[in-house]
Amino acid sequence: MSVTSAPYRSEMPDGRDGFGELLHAEWTKFRTVRGWVITAVAAALLIVLFAYLGTFHHEDGGICVGANPASGTCQSFAHPTPPLGPGGEAVTDTYSFVHRTLAGDGSITVRVSSLSGRVQAGNGNAASATDMAGASGQVQPWAKAGLILTATTKPGSAYAAVMLTGAHGVRMQYDYTHDAAGPAVHTPRWLRLTRSGTTLTGYQSADGRTWTRVGSAHLASLPQIVQAGLFVTSPPTAPAEQALVPGSGGVATGATATFGWPDLQGGWSPGGWAAENVGANVDNAVLPTLSSVGSRRSGSGFTITGSGDIAPSVGGGETDKNALTGVFVGLIALIVLAVMSITGEYRRGLIHTTLTASPRRGRVLIAKAVVIAAVAFVAGAAAAAVSIPLGNHILRANGNYVYPAGTLTQLRVVLGTGALVALAAVLALALGTALRRGAGAVTAAILLVVLPYMLAFASALPAGASQWLMRITPDAAFAVQQTLPQYHQVAYLYTPSEGFYPLAPGIGLAVLAAYALVALLVAHRLLRTRDA
């Protein structure tokens, strides 16, 4: 009688080999290498540390006045606090105003017979008082002369205006950020602004008889009694690229317009016209302005000279970019970490165990990418969430002006910074998988992510080439850190070095994501087709 014994079978249930287990395995690998955890934490701390280093030195903070590009120094520093517009954005609201009080509905019509301009004498490097009084020059493209209706003459008030510009024809603008184009015409021109309840409408005419509508605005919070009349203003020239010291606002200009006698209809209060240089006494010298402005009666009308702008403020203050100085430092640490998470396996031979336990190699790569992306995202986003309030607090404490940014914008910058470093880490992981060499992969990733930024800002490349680098290289993703919008109606040097990127935040991030995806696909193919 023979006894047959069944072969030994383990009582343990079969191990599962789903993606969840793979993720768990990769997370365990990361978590248990002490150096890697320290590197990830250090990356986040470095970002915060450099937020401090990047902002605390602004001890002589404020806006550079009398910038000398050759030595990078300023004669003095202004401490502006730009007024806030109805939408909460920082604005410039400086113009020469000849006005009367309007109660309720009404309209004002005037003929603009000429518009001329002046540019501050000197080269803007060391403007003296006499230089600021102005000299000859061309009218600025965005010099404005026309009719304005404003809640009050306090800078930052709600308003609507129809105007003739130096080179952009007739425009209807309201509440600083809104701009509608009329016909591209020149002086002489007739302008009309009417108020009906909270609706303001601008018209223009060539002869004062046939009128066409330029645009209209609905100003919900407009009070019953408003100030309306003639205005002239002229923004500084956009600073030239070569002569730009960070924070310098260009060269002051002025514009002079001659108006005919205004024709008034509706509830205008009796009495004469009052002249006022709105915003001239406010300590908001973000924009350089000429000192010789004002108005006088001339013949049967007014001649008004103005300097300044009625527009959103874009230059001169600080943005989140200073607080995020350290992202590059953290980025390099995370790139090294991401590369080592795969090249370390090759070096130690662990890759054989990994691929034996999980023969589906594509899933191994994806699991690694998920883990490293999550680690990098958390490190980047957490560091940004600490850095931005910290950096902005230090900047403000040192007398700098920091542009206000909405909660949603701040959230976008924080999450975007996390996504940026996460995608860069995935790109580095893919390069590490493809090259299997630590040195080569780290170098390739750093050259892709850091070198374009350095070339764009710290080399002799012209602004045009820098803009292209910020479109087509992985650094396009830094667009997520832009907090100030770019306004076509404000002439400014909208370059990346001033915090303005050529692509929208989402698109910029998508460019980096495309790089990461392509690298991941190549790495996937190589991992599957090569022997480990």
């Binding site: 970019k321 750093i446 350095m454 080399s459």
Partner: protein, 258 residues
């Protein structure tokens, strides 16, 4: 010592990567220099350009390849385990590091000279066609011009010093990825941080102590009074970084088990 040199030379000569890396350094340097020269024009940037510095811009990328070569020379031995054999055959660790430094320097000087001459030649061909002509006050790039010669020689020395800095860091940290991360961080972060921090005085200080920003002052041929640091002093700053890294590498190599 000559045996150590011979051994290191044999290693460098027979590893396939060396030739490719040197070729890559030359191609990338000349390539980036040419691209930058093609990207600028007199009409877009105006006068006051330093065309010598412009045509040597490729050193920015070439140095990264030099760093790989130098890092691989020693950290590569740690990752392959070769270091055990090397140290068994050559127990004098300082002599070993000195031999590696000599070989890296020689290779980088040779490749750097080719890369720099190629870059200047590319600039000489491209820049006049982009408006940088005698009529606009720009002389043709030539090594007979004293400052251009200094910039060229200095750039070659710069690359060699970057190689030594990388070798020292790699000897200290013994891991390729970490070492290259540290070296490229040291090189590239200073110019970026100097750009991002707003204050002119801190910016200047950063440019004075950064190995890349200080070292590349040697490329300047115009506006010499406005440099953050004098050309040769700048190269000395980089040399100090390289010496400090080599010293740290030598001490750690001497004290630690392989």
């Amino acid at each position: 010592m000559s045996e150590a040199l011979h051994a290191e030379w044999t290693k460098a000569r027979t590893v396939a990567g060396t030739g490719w890396l040197l070729l890559g350094a030359i191609v990338l340097t000349v390539g980036l220099s040419a691209v930058v020269a093609l990207a600028v024009s007199y009409s877009s940037t105006g006068s006051g350009q330093d065309i010598t510095k412009l045509s040597l811009a490729g050193v920015d990328i070439g140095q990264a390849v030099v760093a790989i070569l130098a890092v691989q020379t020693i950290a590569g031995e740690y990752s392959s385990g070769m270091i055990h054999i090397t140290l068994t055959a050559m127990p004098n660790r300082l002599a070993l590091l000195a031999a590696k430094a000599a070989i890296v320097s020689a290779l980088v000087l040779a490749a750097g000279a080719v890369a720099v001459l190629g870059s200047l030649y590319a600039g000489r061909l491209i820049l006049p066609a982009h408006g940088f002509t005698a009529a606009h006050g720009y002389a043709l790039l030539a090594l007979t011009h004293g400052l251009t010669l200094r910039a060229a020689l200095g750039s070659v020395l710069y690359l060699a010093l970057v190689g030594l800095l990388s070798l020292g860091v790699a000897a200290a940290v013994r891991d390729c990825a970490t070492a290259i991360g540290i070296v490229l961080g040291l090189l590239y972060l200073f110019p970026i941080l100097a750009h991002l921090v707003g204050g002119p005085s801190l910016q200047r200080h950063l440019e004075q102590i950064g190995p890349m920003t200080a070292g590349l002052a040697i490329q300047a041929t115009t506006n010499l009074h406005h440099l953050p640091i004098a050309p040769w002093a700048g190269l000395a700053v980089l040399a100090a970084w390289a010496a400090a890294a080599l010293l740290a590498g030598a001490v750690l190599l001497r004290l630690r088990d392989a």
